[in-house]
């Protein structure tokens, strides 16, 4: 696979064309993130269980390049799959995913995403060789981290 094909794997192309988790609702607490260089935007919400301890769903809306939009879609898919399997994320689980994702994406191709943990989102590993695109892939995850920080601050 060429570098370009590693970047734009079929999974990424599919998610960018047919995004999952797309659509925010009234009352969602959202974080809006932008990449000022190119205008990519993602507005994301974490929908928590009634007791506020688990992420049941990730919802988002946005516009921009295929990497930024596919990454948000893959993130929502990952959250949904783990929730369906009875492993809905705690705040610590989510933070761990964000940290691992960031470490891999910033590794310049040295650290691949763990397919066992990240599922289809592991296809985003290819982005890490393209330094200028890491920020695109990070947008949704940064939005989630922002929401976590705000949730922790609110107590």
């Amino acid at each position: 696979m060429s570098g370009l094909e590693q970047l734009y794997q079929q999974i990424i192309m599919d998610h960018s064309k047919s995004p999952h988790g797309y659509g925010l609702a009234e009352g969602d607490v959202t974080s809006h993130q932008r990449n000022p260089v190119c205008g990519d935007e993602v507005t994301l919400a974490l929908r928590w269980s009634a007791d506020g301890t688990r992420v049941e769903e990730v919802a988002w809306e946005g516009s921009g390049c295929s990497i930024s939009q596919a990454s948000a879609s893959l993130f929502a898919t990952l959250a949904a799959e783990d929730a369906d399997a009875g492993n809905a994320w705690t705040p610590d689980d989510l933070q761990a995913f964000i940290d691992e994702f960031r470490e891999a994406l910033r590794s310049r191709g040295q650290i691949p995403l763990d397919e066992e943990r990240f599922g289809d989102a592991a296809a985003l590993s290819g982005v890490s060789k393209f330094v200028a695109r890491v920020k695109c892939a990070m947008l949704a995850w940064v939005a989630a981290e922002d929401l976590l920080t705000r949730k922790a601050a609110a107590g």
Binding site: M13, C38, G39, D40, G64, C65, S66, I67
Partner: protein
């Protein structure tokens, strides 16, 4: 689609484009062009963002540091004298380049700083600084600053801020659907209240020349100052601010094959010497007491502290480089490249060239939107074959918004650009929709 025949204001050049042997000789002077990317030779088509540097410019900066480095305008030792002479020679080279007086040339860190400098100086005049000499330039409630809708953010935001500080109103001349400045609308915007018109010489998104011959007289008729952003014209055509009848002009060194960290603000001497300073400190004063200071005239008035000595010397070398190539021949060559680029892109289905319909001379530059593909993704396809092109809004969000897009992919030529490189870029752009499997689909 063809280019307007005039490559620069003043008419059709009769000069011959560079021959292939000459172009090879020019290319050999740019060491970075020897780089390979992903197994492809670098095709650098982002000169409008920053130009590459010929060896002689790199060497001019390095030689200064190796052989003549000293603080300028202070100290009496031999090196200090040599450094001062080199720095002031650089100012003289810029002045001849612009056909203006030496003491009207102010070195800044970039064009953005030059525009801010003028805006802040007028802001200080509006606070009463600079006394009676500066008072005619003071802005107050009811005064208007006029820009155009296609300005680079550097020629928009400083004026927004100046308006906010002084109570003046910022107005803009709209662009039409083609992306051209709407000259008819300008007559309704520039009026008795207009105090400043700030406009770019050449658009960094469409490459089209602004209709200065129409706009400047409107400003002149109402006694407004005219500030010109010449960043995108200085590398491509002879820049003569006095002939253009403007009061101040800025350009950046790094787009003109010079170093980063250096720009030029030219202003009419009577304007510069009337305006109060902005940044203050050493090297710009005559007498200082604990209560106040008296300031030197321009250029020192606007160059406090140790200036950008090596960068100015590097810029002077870059100006000698383009002067030796000759702007008539640069323009002739880039005119052919620009026509080849636009004609080539006109044949590519599923893309839109921003400003393609503008009826004006233009530089060899095109911003493209590929239907159904974000500019970032399109640019990645070019990068994969070693083509460096700019993606994004090119610091011109209002113009992109007006044209109904958020971002575009920009290809821009420099003196080292070949016809083959233009063809490679056109072919790569033509392949973008294939790569994203959109061929045959409507976006």
């Amino acid at each position: 689609m063809t280019l307007s025949p005039a490559p620069y204001a003043g008419g059709v050049t009769e000069a011959a484009p560079f021959s292939s042997a000459e172009l090879e000789h020019i290319r050999a002077q740019f060491p970075i062009l020897r780089r390979d990317l992903y197994g492809h030779p670098l095709v650098y088509l982002d000169s409008a963002a920053t130009a590459q540097k010929p060896t002689r410019v790199i060497e001019a900066e390095a030689t200064f540091y190796r052989e003549a480095n000293a603080a300028v305008h202070r100290g009496a030792h031999t090196l200090a004298g040599e450094a001062t002479e080199l720095y002031e020679d650089a100012r003289g080279t810029v002045a001849r380049f612009l056909a203006v007086n030496d003491d009207e040339v102010i070195f800044t860190s970039n064009a953005t700083e030059g525009l801010n400098l003028i805006a802040y100086a007028i802001g200080n005049a509006s606070l009463g600084r600079g006394g009676a000499a500066a008072a005619p330039y003071a802005l107050r409630d009811g005064d208007e600053i006029v820009v155009t809708e296609l300005e680079h953010h550097a020629n928009l935001i400083p004026w927004q801020e100046l308006a906010a500080r002084t109570g003046a109103t910022l107005r803009f001349i709209p662009v039409d659907d083609s992306g051209a400045i709407d000259v008819d609308a300008a007559t309704g915007v520039i009026g008795a209240r207009t105090r400043i018109l700030a406009v770019s010489h050449v658009s960094n998104v469409t490459g089209a020349h602004s209709p200065l011959d129409r706009l400047v007289p409107l400003a002149r008729a109402v006694g407004a100052l005219v500030v010109l952003d010449a960043c995108q014209s200085a590398p491509h055509l002879p820049l003569r601010p006095r002939e253009l009848d403007v009061d101040a002009a800025v350009f950046s060194g790094h787009k003109l094959y010079g170093p980063t960290g250096i720009g030029v603000l030219w202003g009419r001497a009577e304007l510069l010497n009337a305006l109060p300073p902005v940044l203050t400190g050493g090297s710009m004063i005559t007498t200082v007491t604990m209560e106040g200071a008296e300031y030197l005239p321009a250029p020192q008035r606007f160059e406090p502290g140790t200036p950008r000595i090596a960068q100015a010397i590097g810029l002077a070398e870059a100006i000698r480089f383009v002067d030796e190539l000759g702007f008539d021949r640069i323009a002739a060559t880039e005119h052919e490249l620009g026509a080849r680029l636009l004609d080539g892109l006109a044949e590519v289905p599923g893309i839109r060239v921003l400003g393609a319909g503008i009826d004006a001379p233009r530089v060899a530059l095109a911003s493209v939107v590929v239907d159904g593909v974000h500019a970032h993704d399109a640019g990645q396809v070019l990068d994969n074959v070693g083509i460096a092109a700019r993606v994004g809004h090119h610091c011109a969000q209002p113009l992109h918004r007006r044209l109904g897009v958020t971002a575009s992919l920009r290809v821009s030529a420099g003196v080292h650009t070949t016809a083959d490189e233009i063809d490679q870029a056109v072919a790569a752009i033509a392949g973008v929709r294939d790569f994203f499997r959109l061929t045959g689909e409507n976006a």
